[in-house]
Amino acid sequence: MKRPLIAIAGLSVLALVVVILPFTVSNYLLRLTTIAFMYIALASSWNIVGGFTGYPSFATAAFFGIGAYASGILRTTGSLSLPVVWLAGATAATIFSLMVGPAILRLRGHYFAVASLVLAAVLREITNAATVLTGGGMGLNLPTAGVVNVDAQTRVYYVSMLIAAVLTVSLAALIWRSRLGWAMRCIEQNEDAAIVLGINTLATKILGFAVSAGTAGLVGAIYATWIGYIDPTDAFDDLLSVKPIIMAFIGGVGTVLGPVAGAIIFLVLEEFVWRNVLNFHAGILGIIIVALLVFMPGGLGSVGRGIVKLRNYWRASRRGEIRAAAPPAVPS
């Protein structure tokens, strides 16, 4: 890791803040921070597949939704405790990824992107149709945890999402340092060369997919019990697949801490925009996405480059040359 001192200092400050928070601030801020943890976990989870291996996955919504419904169904039919239900959600999502992974991970590029995107759509329709089990379009109401004290409840979920986030980022860090991570980076750079090197690319990809699924499923499971109501359109929302990607982009795709920073920045932006612009927040999110991807595809690290690009574009348009760069010499 570059700049270790800054990173350690930043992490320590964050850790301190995180621990003190439940004792000081309002429930609203606590809830907001819980969402921050959720975003961190999802961004980091996506990063394992999308960042490390470079496979454009849009499957986060699918895993999230499975986790949410698994925990939801178990909570309404049985009387299992929260941690058991959460684990079940993570497991269900992992099993699902192991079922579809071998099939769709053979695809590359666009085909993989479309296949992963469509997973959520298929699951949404199946959930809608399986009314007896899932309540279908009517949604699922989860029983509350029995602890009616609001303050305690908020803190319970604060801690659980925090654990989910820490778990995901730690797994990402572990993978990054391991041979698995190395194999993933090889695949990201040049998959065919990786195969030549003797890496079992399919197994590597499946493993990464499974870890990503498990963590996203865990987050979904906690989310369902937290909100107390889920329905197919919200549990398998496409935005759940896109937002973690944006967050990872903001912070730096393929790094361990990049998604963390990106998630926090994204949440701050989202909250600020939503509070102030009542009926145009989707549009503003769109503008942010486009600006980000066009001018700063490297995330925070390339802010400098992005500014240079803007300046060049401005100069070029002043000179009357609004043309983009010619295609590079080397085929990608």
Binding site: G50, G54, P56, F58, V100, A103, I104, R106, L107, G109, H110, Y111, A113, V114, A115, L117, V118, L119, A121, V122, E125, I126, N128, A129, D238, V242, I245, I246, F249, N279, F280, A282, G283, L285, G286, I287, I288, I289, V290, L293, V294, P297, I322, R323, A324, A326, P327, P328, P331, S332
Partner: protein, 294 residues
């Protein structure tokens, strides 16, 4: 007789689907960009046709070329300013960029037009052709507006085919799709070709929107539905292949119609998406078999 009617429904629906998908397929095949904006372009074309009809009395079918032109200009502008900058980036970036643009366009339309559903109610209505009027034993009905859209779909596809095969511009587009670097070497202005292709895709979307305005209710929220269908059709028919969009559209229309009959209407969407996944896994090049060039 029931099955024949369902088949007719499926074919007509397939024509509509082909209208929706042909522009999407073109952009995906040539620029290698999954254009999430496509659904929103269709909706915009439909809105333009709606207002042209209700305020100016222009028939949507007559308005279609105008809608196509407006969207052509818009598409050209969008491509030059935004898409061009991310053209060389991996699919993740391009897909997410068009997603962001779609969010923006949908929200703009929501603010401008409100989410109330509109539809063009043709006066006088085009009506239906009842086959039992001529052949009393054939109890089959064909709605004229869907038939017209089907014919237009064939028209679009043929025009596009002719354009790609027999005009210089078209050959340039195909050349760029085959190998963009080689095309540059041959003196083709790829930047212009990309902009042109994207604009063409948008124009097709706009025309489709105008044709669909008497058939489907219009709202900024309807764009994603069209997009979902376009995805499935492109994969079904073969990516980048214009005739593939037609074949894929027909196949999907028939599949959905019979699927709704045998499995129940609540499963028709599940069916199409499941088919999509199966195809992606087992036969990514679709029914046409190869990544067609025209």
């Amino acid at each position: 007789m029931l099955y024949v009617q369902i088949l007719i429904n499926g074919i007509l629906l397939g024509g509509l689907y082909a209208c929706i998908a042909v522009g999407f397929s073109l952009v995906w095949g040539v620029l290698n960009v999954i254009n999430i904006l496509h659904g929103s372009f269709i909706v915009l074309g439909a809105y333009l046709a709606f207002f042209a009809y209700t305020k100016l009395g222009v028939h949507p079918y007559l308005f279609a070329p105008i809608a196509a032109f407006v969207l052509f200009v818009l598409g050209y502008a969008v491509q030059l300013t935004v898409i061009n900058r991310v053209l060389e980036a991996p699919v993740l970036v391009t897909l997410t960029t068009t997603f962001g643009l779609a969010l923006l366009l949908d929200n703009l339309m929501l603010v401008a037009f409100a989410a109330n559903f509109r539809k063009v109610s043709l006066n006088p209505p085009l009506g239906i052709i009842d086959l039992s009027d001529w052949f009393p034993s054939l109890d089959l009905i064909v709605p004229v507006d869907r038939l017209a859209s089907m014919l237009f779909a064939l028209l679009f596809v043929s025009l596009l085919y002719w354009l790609l095969r027999h005009t210089v511009v078209g050959r340039a587009i195909v050349a760029v799709r085959m190998d963009r670097y080689a095309a540059t070497l041959m003196g083709v202005d790829t930047v212009k070709v990309f902009a042109l292709t994207f604009a063409l895709g948008a124009a097709l979307a706009g025309a489709a929107g105008a044709l669909l305005s008497p058939i489907f209710p219009i709202s900024p929220l309807a764009g994603t539905n069209y997009l979902g269908k376009a995805f499935v059709i492109c994969v079904l028919g073969g990516l980048g292949s214009v005739s593939g969009a037609l074949v894929g559209g027909l196949a999907l229309g028939i599949l959905e119609s019979f699927g709704a009959l045998f499995l129940g209407p609540e499963h028709s969407l599940t069916l199409s998406f499941t088919v999509l996944i199966m195809l992606l896994i087992f036969r990514p090049n679709g029914i046409m078999g190869k990544r067609g060039f025209v």
